[in-house]
């Protein structure tokens, strides 16, 4: 195997590690918030350092890859895409970190009816499915799977858009739960942001596989 291929495999493995680490952070953040587990929230906050360290390592290694190996064609697209994927993953890590902080700020466990009404579970399940698609598409360079992410992001957006009306309606009836409602809205906004960032990652994966730039285009 020639050296540039070895280096690309190392970078790819780092990308997989970052994906897995950030995915896990989001899973833990959901669990911590919905079960009001502040210990778990503290763990997420501590693990944010690992996300940041890996982010810096990937950025440095990719810089070296470009400087030392002068990649072209698929290798160049991969390196450029990895920089963007890494940047978006780090931002997802930040969202998980914020959710962990919101968990600590929450004064009690979310009431189950609220979780159900806001379709919190469906939102998280959809995000989980998007994460799996992104991981599969990145590892196996699968265009078809990468494109699935766009439709799923629309589900997330729709759940988030409905949440405001639900909260506005319910908060009047249950003013004592107003803090929960506001926290839930803030966390849903974070989940919606994670959906957008996963969509960006999908665009980068499609770019490195197929050289197609999807930024600012309507997704089918």
């Amino acid at each position: 195997m020639i050296n540039i291929e070895e280096q690309r495999i190392i970078l790819s493995k780092n990308g997989e590690e970052m994906l897995s680490l950030v995915h896990n952070q989001v899973q833990l953040a959901y669990e911590a918030f919905t079960s009001f587990d502040t210990d778990l929230a503290e763990e997420i906050i501590l693990k944010e350092n690992r996300v940041n360290a890996l982010d810096v390592r990937i950025e440095k290694d990719t810089d070296h890859f470009i400087a030392l190996y002068s990649p072209v064609a698929t290798d160049l697209r991969f390196a450029l895409a990895l920089l963007k994927i890494n940047y978006n993953l780090e931002r997802i890590g930040d969202q998980a970190f914020d959710i962990a902080n919101h968990t600590i700020d929450l004064n009690q466990k979310l009431v189950p009816e609220l979780v159900e009404r806001l379709q919190f579970n469906l939102m998280f399940e959809t995000l989980e499915s998007m994460f799996k698609d992104v991981e599969n598409a990145f590892i196996n360079e699968n265009l078809k799977v990468a494109r699935k992410v766009f439709k799923k992001d629309k589900i997330i957006n729709s759940i988030n858009a409905n949440a405001f009306e639900i909260v506005a309606e319910d908060a009047v009836k249950n003013p004592e739960l107003i803090r929960q409602y506001l926290m839930a809205l803030m966390v849903m906004k974070k989940f919606e942001k994670i959906g957008d960032l996963l969509k960006n990652i999908s665009e980068s994966i499609i770019y490195f596989i197929d050289a197609e730039i999807l930024k600012h285009k309507k997704k089918k």
């Binding site: 020639i2 540039i4 291929e5 002068s70 990649p71 072209v72 064609a73 698929t74 290798d75 160049l76 697209r77 050289a211």
Partner: protein, 288 residues
Amino acid sequence: MESRFISEINGKKNYSNTMSDMMSEKTEDAKTEAPIAEKYKLQTKDVNVFYGDFQAIKDISMNIKPKSITAFIGPSGCGKSTFLRLFNRMNDYIEDFKMEGKIKIDDKNIYKDKIQLEQLRKEVGMVFQKPNPFPKSIFENVAYGLKIQGIKDKKLIADRVEKALVQADLWNEVKDNLSKSALTLSGGQQQRLCIARTLAVEPSIILMDEPTSALDPISTAKIEELIHHLKQYYTIIIVTHNMQQAARISDYTAFFYMGELIEFDKTKKIFTNPEKKRTENYITGRFG
């Protein structure tokens, strides 16, 4: 001292000799076919080259636009230099060489019997891998081609030498030592001198066969800058093994493999998203 030719060089170049001068047969069709010649400086159609039983070039058709830089890339022995040397009929002297197909410059077939080879080589200049100045003065090296052409007017020769040295970005370094031996120049300067020698006879096409492979990175950068500058006056075709050089300086890139033209496209396309897997494997260093 600023050369009096700088303004002329920066302006529009007027070629005194064209391919129609080179052809002893002039036809009326030349006028009606002019638009094709304007679109493509050089055209090849179904070109095959044989050295005895060995086929070095296989069915290559290609159109090269005027005032563009085209890079020929490919592994050693793929036929890129053979193909390049067809354009000034340098292969004619190789034993058992045989060519099929058509090669047209300014829409004139250069493999017709009536072609004047001296005129063709004046029109299609060539720069080689290793700088090859003659053991003469700097001035005599550049003036050589003009004297061969029979030009005797000393002022005209001096003007053309200066103009060529300015164009080759060597004038400021040698203007006070024109009578010095060319062999005292550095490798990079010698190569620029060879480029000046080519430019002095005012060609319209310049062929370059790995012109920087024997040079250090600074001399290489100077030559690359020079090639980029010359593009506004000349059609340049360069054979290079340096992928980054092809990517940096050319408008179009042709990838050759085992005598075939695998892919020919804009350089940006070839180096970001080539159509053919074999091209991608080669430029990414996975074979060849």
